[in-house]
Symmetry: C2
Subunit: 371 residues, 2 copies
C-alpha cells in the first residue's frame, strides 16, 4: 500500500447531532505534551475535572469522573455496574437511545420492562407509574434529551416514582448536559452519564458519569462480578479515588481537553449557557417558521440544542444535507429509524450555538431550497 499523506481536516461548521465545534482553547489543550497518567500534575488535574463535573452535573456525588470511552461506554458503565442477571429493569423508550439502553440492559441479563412513546413525543410520568404498579424493579432508565428526536422529557416526577418503587434512577444526559438544566441532586438521580462532544464542546472520547452513594453501594455489594473489567467501578474507584491504583492508562490529552471545556462552561455560568442555548433555538425556530418549516418534536418539549426540522414534502432530505456540507461546509444530521427522511437534525450545542451560525444555516438552507 502507498503510504497515505498527512491528513488535513476540512473546516466545517458542526450543526449536527454531535460532535459540536470545540473552542480554540480546547483544541489547543489537546496539543499539549503528554505527561504520565500517574504524574502528580495529572492527578491534580483529575481532581479538578471531578470537581468541575460535580458543578456541571449539580451534584455532590463523590463518584463523579469521566469514563475512558464515548457516551455509549458511559451508558454501559452504568448498566454493567448496577444490573445483575435476572434483575427487573424499567426502560423508557422514545427514540434510538432508549432502545439502546434497553438492549444494553438485556445484555447484562436484565428482564426489561419497556415504557414506550412515539418518536418525537416525551415519556409521560403516568406511563411510568403504570409500569411500576406491583413491581419492584432494580432500576428505572430514562433518556433526558433524545438526540434522535429532539424531545426533552421532564425528569423529576419520573424519578420520584422510581424511588417510591424502591428503584435506582438512571438518566442519560448525553445531549442535555450543559445545554439545559440538569440537576442530579435535586432530581435524585442515582446514575447519570453524558458525552463530551455535545454541549460540553469537547472532542468525543470520554463519558462523564456520576453515581450516588446508594448506586455505589449496589455496585459494591453485587452477587456476581461486574461482567466488564474495563468498566468495573470497583476497580475504577481505585484509580479515580484516593488510592491511585493503576487500572488502565487514562486518555491524557482527552482529559486535558475536558478540563479546559469544563472550565469554559463554568466561566460562562450554567444558567447563562442554558439561556444562550434557548435564545439560539428560538432564533432558529423563528427563521425556519418564516421559511414555512417547523419542528417535528412535541410542542412544549422541544430541545434547544437538537432541533428536529421537518423536511418539506417533495424535498430530498439527503441531497439538501449533502449540498449543505459540500457547498456550505455545514454539517446537519439525518433522521433515524421512523424519522429517516422526514427530519433534519440541527444541533445548536455548546460552541456551535451562536446567532451567527443560526443565520448562516438559515441563509444556506434558503438558497438550497429556493433552487
Amino acid at each position: 500500500m502507498q503510504s497515505p499523506t498527512v491528513f488535513h481536516a476540512p473546516k466545517r461548521l458542526l450543526m449536527g447531532p454531535g460532535p459540536s465545534d470545540a473552542a480554540p482553547s480546547v483544541l489547543k489543550a489537546m496539543a499539549m505534551p503528554l505527561v504520565g497518567h500517574l504524574d502528580p500534575s495529572f492527578i491534580q488535574m483529575m481532581e479538578e475535572i471531578k470537581g468541575m463535573l460535580r458543578s456541571v452535573f449539580q451534584t455532590t456525588h463523590n463518584m463523579t469522573f469521566p469514563v475512558s470511552g464515548t457516551g455509549s461506554a458511559g451508558m454501559e458503565f452504568c448498566m454493567v455496574n448496577l444490573v445483575e442477571p435476572g434483575d427487573e429493569v424499567v426502560v423508557c423508550i422514545n427514540g434510538v437511545f432508549g432502545m439502546r439502553m434497553a438492549e444494553v440492559a438485556e445484555r447484562c441479563g436484565a428482564k426489561v420492562i419497556k415504557v414506550e412513546a412515539p418518536w418525537g413525543q416525551i415519556i409521560e410520568a403516568s406511563q411510568v407509574a403504570k409500569a411500576l404498579e406491583g413491581r419492584k424493579p432494580k432500576l428505572v432508565g430514562l433518556v433526558h434529551a433524545e438526540t434522535s428526536t429532539g424531545a426533552l422529557t421532564p425528569v423529576e416526577e419520573i424519578s420520584e416514582l422510581a424511588h417510591q418503587a424502591g428503584a435506582l434512577m438512571l438518566l442519560d444526559t448525553v445531549t442535555s448536559l450543559a445545554g439545559c438544566e440538569v440537576n442530579v441532586d435535586k432530581w435524585q438521580i442515582d446514575a447519570v452519564y453524558s458525552g463530551t462532544q455535545k454541549c460540553l464542546s469537547c472532542p468525543p472520547g470520554l463519558s462523564p458519569v456520576s453515581l450516588s452513594d446508594k448506586a455505589l453501594e449496589v455496585a459494591q455489594s453485587r452477587r456476581e462480578r461486574v461482567q466488564s473489567w474495563y468498566l468495573d467501578v470497583n476497580l475504577l474507584n481505585g484509580y479515580w479515588g484516593t488510592e491511585r491504583v493503576y487500572h488502565h492508562t487514562a486518555p491524557i490529552s482527552m482529559n486535558y481537553a475536558l478540563h479546559e471545556a469544563l472550565r469554559l462552561v463554568l466561566e460562562e455560568g450554567l444558567e447563562t449557557r442554558w439561556k444562550r442555548h434557548q435564545q439560539n433555538h428560538e432564533r432558529l425556530v423563528a427563521g425556519l417558521s418564516e421559511m414555512g418549516l417547523g419542528i417535528a418534536s412535541q410542542p412544549g418539549h422541544q430541545l434547544w440544542q437538537l432541533n428536529a426540522v421537518t423536511v418539506p414534502e417533495g424535498i430530498d432530505e439527503a441531497s439538501v444535507r449533502q449540498q449543505l456540507l459540500k457547498d456550505h461546509q455545514i454539517e446537519v444530521g439525518a433522521g433515524l429509524g421512523p424519522l429517516k427522511g422526514k427530519i433534519w437534525r440541527v444541533g445548536l450545542m455548546g460552541e456551535s450555538s451562536r446567532p451567527e451560525h443560526v443565520d448562516q444555516l438559515l441563509g444556506s438552507l434558503k438558497s438550497i431550497l429556493s433552487r
Copy 2:
C-alpha cells in the same frame, strides 16, 4: 468551588511504561478542528487508518481497526467477542497483563486454564503443549511483551500448538507493536490488540485490533449475544466496515492523531524502527552496566522498549523515581506485584527511544545514585 485555572502540562521526558512522548506533528494533528464522524473526509481517513494498521500489524485481515478505548478495552474486545460462557480458554501468565487477560476471560464466563511462569521469565512452548494435552480449548491467550516485567515471549511455536489443538490464537501486542517484530499473518494470530501510547507514540485512548476471518466467523456465529454492546464486533463491523451504520461517535481527534502516528511509523519503516529500538536498548544496557546495574528479566528475551532495571541493594527506588521526575523531568515506572520495589521500568518506546534520551537518563540516574 473556585473554578480551576487553565492547566499547563509540565514538559516531561516520558521514559516509563507508557505513555511515551508523542511527535510534534501528532500533537498538532490533535488540535485540528473537528469534523463529523460520518463526514466523507473522516470516512476516507478511517480507511487509511485501517490500511496503515494492517501494514503495521503485517496482516491482510479485513477486520482491522482501532477500538474506541485504551489497550485494556482492546483486550476486552477480543475476549467478549470470542468467548462464551462455559468455553475453555488457556491463558499464559507471566506478569500483570496475563493476569488481567485471565480475569477478563473469567468475566466472560470462561473456564480458564492458566499456564504460569515466574515474573520476568518467558512462557515456554513446552508449558503450553502440556496444558493443551487432551484439551480442545476455544482460545489460547498470550502476552507478547509483558510491560510489567520486560520479557518478550516468542510467539510462533505457541501459536502453532494452539492451532493444532483447534484453538484460536490471541496475542497482546500493547507494548510490542512498532517497537519489535509483530507479524500477525506469519504467526497465524486470530485476534490481536495493542495500545496507541507505547511504540506507536500516539496519545492513549485507542486500541488497534485485528481479527482473522476465522475469529470473525466465531464472533458472528455465537450462541449468545456479545455481553458488551460497546465492543460487539458485529455492530462495530457496520460502522468501520462498508455500511457506515451509526454505532457510537468515534473519537475524532484521537483518530487524527493515530493517522499521523501510523504515517510516521511507516515513513520510518518497520525494520528501521525496530533496529532503532534495539540500538537504544543496547546503549542503555551498556551504560547501566558501567554503573553496575543490570536488567532483571530473562537473558536473551529482554524487551528493547521496556527495560526492567534492577534496583541496587539499599536504594529506595521510589525516592529515586521521584527525584528523576521532580529534578530532572524524567518519568520512569515502578515495579508491580512481586517486582514492586525491586525494579525501575525504563521505557524506550517510539519517540522516546532516542540515544540522547538514553544518555540524559543515565546521567541523571548517575547523579542521583552518587549523592
